[in-house]
């Protein structure tokens, strides 16, 4: 499988549209039925709590920077237990993907085209998604980039044109709902809104070009998506009223039907429906992509593309059988889905994180020992060569692990910015102490390698000087001559890493 890289802006957009997903269609009625006119409070709290969920995903992603979620499972939990958890996780994505196809079919059938069987919509939708999966995540990210401005424009138009119909009596009295009902609403909201963001771990650390800004993008995308949802929920309560919102299956569509500007601009709800078709497309794609790639990876296949067509057929079939009717779907989504999603998307990452931290701590101890040993050996070799005093100075610098490590991270950071090399980024993030130790080791290796030519030797000594000056926190006094060898050294470091 070739490596696919998306930019952090594309990643932000995908996060935004993925977090909106089906939530835009089903969440308003679901949480308005339990906490009535206070649904918007529950949704706001849910968005804030989602920050914690995102934080969890980011921490897990940084533990295994070169792997996606499926590979991380197998790496951290071992082959056997990893496979079991992956199968559990893939069952979630598979069924949820089928469910989303059911939703789009049910939505089109009840609201837009009542005579058409739901199979037709599911089939049309899955063809697009299969094609997107076939082309890969890069093309998908570009298409998301195109869809994003349209989404935002339509959303702004939607909000502006519905504002005249707001009745503030609908939202009063505030804070009347009981605590338990608010709690249930929050759980339902988060389960639909942010639990599905776990699928971004399929692309987050491994195939994003700049990790630092995409980390920010993860938060920004989630918050923007939350903002859109809270706005929509608030609007549907303000315009439709809590009882009406709760009794509708798709309140946001009913909201769009109310748009009437001067009795002239009416019945534009199907243009508004573009919003949820886009967001459901993004989410269904992510579920489908995760399932296909996940199956290919646990079976250790070279390419996931041959599995796309059979999986598409299965998913279309699933969309027909997951819910016999809308009542079944409502009960499932309100009561079972939050728990199921919690187990697969929150408990599983927490488990992975705990195991990864424990394993890291263990391996860290071992590696530190070996690094020290190697440094000693090289010291002896240098003493045998009796090359120069300066060389031994560099070695002593290397044995001073902490300060040198900071220098090394600085070096590799500069590499990141200039070349945006993901391999480099990865090694940088991966257990910050471990790789840094090995970095310093590599540096000393370059030193011993370069002892042949005088010129390069001078470079090395210069580098050690700059390191020393960094240690004494007078890094500003670095002259140009000192900067050049530093970059040379960074290059050699990179070559060594590769």
């Amino acid at each position: 499988m070739e490596k696919e890289i998306i930019s952090s802006r594309q990643f932000t957009i995908i996060t935004f549209l993925l977090s909106i997903g089906t939530a835009i269609l089903i969440v308003p009625s679901s949480i308005a039925s339990s906490s009535k006119q206070d649904a918007w409070i529950a949704a706001s709290i849910g968005v804030v709590l989602s920050l914690l969920v995102v934080k969890l995903f980011l921490t897990l992603g940084n533990q295994t920077p070169t792997l996606n979620f499926i590979e991380a499972n197998e790496k951290i939990l071992g082959r056997f237990f990893g496979k079991i958890t992956v199968i559990g996780f893939l069952s979630l994505t598979l069924f949820a993907g089928g469910e989303l196809l059911y939703f789009i079919g049910a939505f089109m059938k009840t609201e837009v085209m009542p005579e058409t069987p739901t199979m037709a919509f599911a089939l049309l939708f899955i063809i697009i998604i299969m094609y997107a999966t076939y082309l890969g995540i890069e093309n998908f990210a570009r298409s998301a980039e195109i869809l994003f401005p349209m989404f935002v424009l339509i959303f702004i138009f939607f909000v502006v044109s519905i504002t005249p119909q707001i009745k503030f009596e609908n939202i009063q009295p505030i804070m009347e709902a009981s605590k338990t009902s608010i709690l249930y609403s929050i759980i339902r909201f988060i389960s639909v809104f942010s639990f599905s963001l776990v699928m971004l771990l399929m692309i987050y650390p491994a195939s994003v070009n700049v990790q630092q800004s995409s980390k920010k993008g993860f938060y920004i995308g989630m918050l923007l998506g939350g903002f859109v949802l809270v706005t929509l929920i608030t609007l549907s309560i303000l315009v439709l009223g809590p009882a009406n919102t709760a009794s509708r299956t798709f309140p946001s569509y009913a909201l769009a039907q109310r748009i009437s500007i001067g009795n002239f601009l009416q019945r534009i709800e199907i243009i508004m429906a573009f919003m949820w078709i886009v967001s459901i497309f993004i989410r269904t794609f992510m579920y489908f992509y995760t399932t296909v790639v996940g199956i290919a990876q646990i079976m250790k296949l070279k390419d996931h593309r041959p599995l796309i067509l059979p999986m598409g057929i299965i998913m279309v079939g699933l969309s027909q059988i997951v819910h016999p009717d809308i009542v079944h779907s409502n009960i499932y989504n309100d009561e079972i889905w939050p728990i199921y999603a919690f187990v697969c998307t929150i408990l599983l990452p927490i488990l992975l994180l705990i195991v990864a931290v424990i394993r890291n701590r263990k391996s860290q101890g071992n590696e530190a020992k070996t690094v020290n040993g190697e440094n000693k050996q090289e010291n002896e070799a240098n003493a045998g060569n009796a090359d120069s005093n300066q060389q031994s100075q560099t070695n002593t610098n290397n044995t001073d692990s902490n300060h040198q490590n900071q220098d090394n991270t600085n070096n590799s950071d500069s590499n990141q910015q200039s070349q945006t090399n993901t391999n480099n980024t990865d090694s940088n993030h991966q257990n910050q102490d471990n790789t840094n130790n090995s970095d310093s080791n590599q540096q000393s290796q370059t030193n011993t390698n370069n002892t042949d030519s005088n010129h390069q030797n001078q470079d090395n000594t210069n580098n050690s000087d700059s390191n020393q000056s960094n240690q004494t926190n007078t890094g500003n006094t670095n002259s140009n001559q000192e900067h050049q060898p530093k970059s040379d050294n960074a290059k050699t470091n990179q070559e060594n890493q590769e």
Partner: protein, 77 residues
């Protein structure tokens, strides 16, 4: 009945398109996974076309998680 046969024919076409190509690349494992998935998918869709009552897989999930749900509900009451 016609629909079921159509689905079967489509699946056979898909299999004929992919399996020789994969055989040339000597990816036996891919062929195996591909065939199993295609078989499941075809059986599922033929069942739907023949209007056989297939239980929802989510009923199984519901069965697993109902005790946990009841426990949580009893906690918050």
């Amino acid at each position: 009945m016609v629909l079921a046969i159509a689905i079967l024919i489509i699946s056979i076409i898909i299999a004929l398109l992919y399996i020789p190509k994969l055989k040339k690349q000597q990816e036996t494992k891919t062929i195996l996974v591909f065939s199993i998935l295609l078989l499941i998918g075809t059986a599922l869709n033929m069942g739907i076309a023949l209007k056989i009552n297939i239980p929802s897989p989510l009923d199984f999930i519901t069965f697993i998680f109902t005790p946990i749900k009841d426990f949580i509900v009893s906690l918050t009451k």
